[in-house]
């Protein structure tokens, strides 16, 4: 369940890029991206919509030309050797992109042939993925009649049909329910155990936490990267949690404080991000609350561990400040 089910990192890199940049007119979709993604691991791109996740993935596949910078994927120069790369990668697009008017088995047969599998390999691999992704019962169904989770399983089945060394998954879980998401991630770890490297983009914090390593992207810029635990340990902020039945009221007052980066309400509690250079964060908040003259006997204040979401907020906040 946790990301420490990881196998040993290979020393070799599956993806390496330097100063990879793509501009669309005045917009810089991806800005000077550096990546070093080790083989046999799950690498995550975490970022909001429009942060350049899809553009970065498409550049690494050779679907979009970079404006500048260079990339090496599985030892091949991209985009120059992109065609050589195609048979070694699998790709899942953001929205379902298989044929809605072909049945599950027809889609699989078509893609197996497109990837040039021999007749024997075709039937072997199709049987294998049908079993692995619980698609046997659905084989004669059309994707248009299937649920989001079922479609997603089919997409992953197609992406790994030709046993690629590298999978690009562009927001694969954006249209599926929580249980399907859990199953999906289990399947990803199985693939990594088989030796596959996976680059996955997401805007879910819990998914980001499960990656071996991740990069946080915001407005085309990589604002932080590393293993999730390391990112949380090295967060440039302190988290203080306040519980109060007046949480909503307190929130706006707290936001005005100079040392406060952000305040998030979760039910009755407020998670307050404070600048790290603050010596006594709990005392600071206590003082502030006294100044607001809050009379709430149930009020508690304590320092707590940062979450992935807070790592994300701090990273993107820092970027805003430097601008």
């Amino acid at each position: 369940m946790s990301s420490d089910s990881a196998t040993q990192f290979s020393t070799e890199l599956a993806i390496e890029c330097h100063q990879l940049t793509r501009k669309f007119g005045n917009l810089t979709a991806v800005n000077q991206l550096d990546l070093a993604i080790p083989k046999q691991s799950i690498y995550g791109f975490l970022g909001p919509n429009g942060s350049g996740k899809s553009t970065a993935i498409r550049m690494l596949c050779g679907l979009i030309l970079p404006t500048s910078g260079d990339a090496q994927v599985l030892g091949l120069q991209i985009p120059k050797q992109a065609e050589k790369l195609k048979k070694n990668i699998g790709y899942m697009t953001q929205s379902f992109s298989l044929y809605e008017d072909l049945t599950v088995i027809e889609n699989l047969r078509f893609m197996a042939k497109v990837y040039g599998l021999s007749g024997k390999q075709q039937s072997q691999r199709i049987q294998a993925v049908l079993g692995r992704y619980r698609l046997e019962a659905l084989q004669h169904q059309f994707p248009s009649t299937m649920s989001g989770g079922q479609k997603q399983r089919l997409s992953l089945a197609v992406a790994e049909l030709h046993q690629p060394k590298l999978l690009f998954l562009d927001e694969p879980t954006s249209a599926v329910d929580p249980q399907s998401r859990r199953d999906f991630w289990e399947a990803l770890f199985d693939l990594v155990n088989d030796g596959v490297t996976i680059l996955v983009s997401t805007h879910y914090m819990d998914e980001a936490e499960r990656c071996h390593q991740l990069a946080i992207l915001n407005q085309g810029v990589k604002v932080a990267d590393g293993a999730p635990q390391d990112l949380m340990a090295a967060i440039d902020a302190t988290v203080v949690q306040v519980e109060s039945h007046q949480a909503a009221k307190l929130k706006s007052s707290l936001l005005d404080l100079t040392e406060v980066i952000s305040v998030t309400q979760i039910g009755r509690s407020l998670r307050i991000l404070l600048n790290k250079n603050l010596a006594k964060p709990v005392a600071y908040i206590e003082q502030a609350l006294n100044a607001f003259m809050v009379c709430d006997k149930t009020l508690t204040i304590k320092q707590t561990e940062p979450s992935m979401e807070e790592v994300f907020v701090v990273a993107t906040h820092a970027q805003k400040k430097t601008k």
């Binding site: 030309l65 065609e83 992109s97």
Partner: protein, 365 residues
């Protein structure tokens, strides 16, 4: 109740969208302009400039007058002077001429005899418009230098080649094969690639080892079979119901069709790489269909159109197909005799396919 504000909102939205849809604006203006020009200017029902060969056996002053007067009508353009009847028949069969004029050696004597026509017109009767023009020529006046010399009998005897019963279906059905193929084939392939792009299939497909050539040819080949089915259907119906003959070899009909279908499919694929939506692809197909039907010689005799329209028509595959299929089916011409038309279609196919493959990138930008 209708809310005027909402009505106006929809109206405005449509105008805004239309403003950005250049192709539709092009059609709004282009179709009326094209239609008016084609019908009013290019499509001339006063038939002129029919390519004609003359075999003048008489070589007298009178025969020269006859030829000059024929040219003065402007109905015919004398493009060939030949020395025997066989040459006229060959030219008729290959489609280089539509009328052959045979002036017998005893023209001067015949013109005085009421019971015999003075000369003969050999006419490609498979085209009813040409046939009509030839009939008009029989009423022509002769202007001799000294006295108006009117023939006692008929000036011309008209010999109807290829369609002795003068049935219009004979002329229409073979050309109709071409019109049907143009309509269906171009549209099929024009929307095929765009559809995959619209549905998102293409992004996945171009990230596989598939090559542009494999994708294009794979999309074209099934429709060639469909084209053959359509041709067989039209030919059978034409034969059974309208008694349209196939004078040439059936194999040649299929060879000609194959080349023509290929030309249309590659044109469709080219549109597919240009269009951004299925609707745009359809609009492009219509843009080709209209001039094809009007200018190809399917509806109106080719030579009667002004030069500009003829040049335009030479680009259209249907023009060449109409010449080929009329030649093979109605006049029994062989492919050796019609090779320039066949070559034109092949060049068209190669060029459009190359352009399509060049335009299609396995990339999204």
């Amino acid at each position: 109740m209708i809310s005027l504000r909402r009505l106006f909102a929809v109206f405005l939205k449509e105008v805004w969208q239309l403003k950005r849809d250049r192709l539709t604006i092009g059609m709004i203006l282009g179709i009326p302009i094209m239609q008016v020009l084609l019908f009013g200017y290019a499509i001339n029902t006063d038939i002129r400039h029919i390519h004609t060969a003359v075999f003048n056996e008489a070589n007298t002053q009178l025969s020269q007058t006859l030829i000059t007067d024929l040219q003065a009508t402007q109905v015919v353009d004398i493009t060939h002077y030949v020395n025997d009847i066989d040459a006229i028949e060959t030219l008729l069969r290959t489609g280089e001429i539509s009328i052959g004029v045979v002036i017998p050696a005893d023209l001067d004597r015949r013109i005085q005899e009421p019971e015999r026509p003075a000369a003969q017109l050999m006419v490609n009767g498979s085209d009813p418009i040409v046939m009509g023009a030839a009939q008009q020529l029989t009423a022509m006046q002769l202007h001799h230098k000294h006295q108006p010399m009117q023939p006692q009998g008929k000036l011309f005897e008209v010999r109807n080649y290829y369609n002795p019963e003068r049935r219009s279906a004979v002329n229409t059905i073979p050309g109709l094969i071409g019109v049907i193929l143009t309509m269906t084939m171009v549209i099929f392939t024009a929307i095929s690639l765009v559809r995959e792009r619209e549905r998102g299939n293409l992004e996945l497909l171009i990230n596989t080892p598939i090559t542009s050539n494999e994708l294009m040819l794979g999309k074209i080949l099934p429709y060639i079979v469909i084209g053959f089915i359509q041709v067989s259907l039209v030919l059978s119906l034409g034969y059974v119901i309208f008694d349209v003959p196939i004078i040439g070899r059936v194999l040649d009909v299929y060879i000609v069709t194959l080349v023509f279908v290929a030309a249309n499919l590659t044109l469709g694929i080219l549109f597919s790489t240009l269009a951004k939506s299925q609707l745009q692809a359809l609009q492009m197909a219509i843009f080709v269909m209209l001039p094809s039907i009007l200018l190809s010689g399917f509806m109106f005799p080719f030579n009667a159109m002004p030069q500009l329209a003829q040049w335009l028509a030479e680009i259209l595959p249907l023009t060449h197909f109409v010449r080929l299929i009329h030649g093979v089916m109605l006049r029994g011409a062989s492919l050796q005799e019609l090779w320039p038309e066949l070559l034109a279609l092949m060049v068209f196919t190669a060029v459009t396919l190359l352009l399509a493959i060049k335009r299609f990138h396995k990339r999204l930008d």
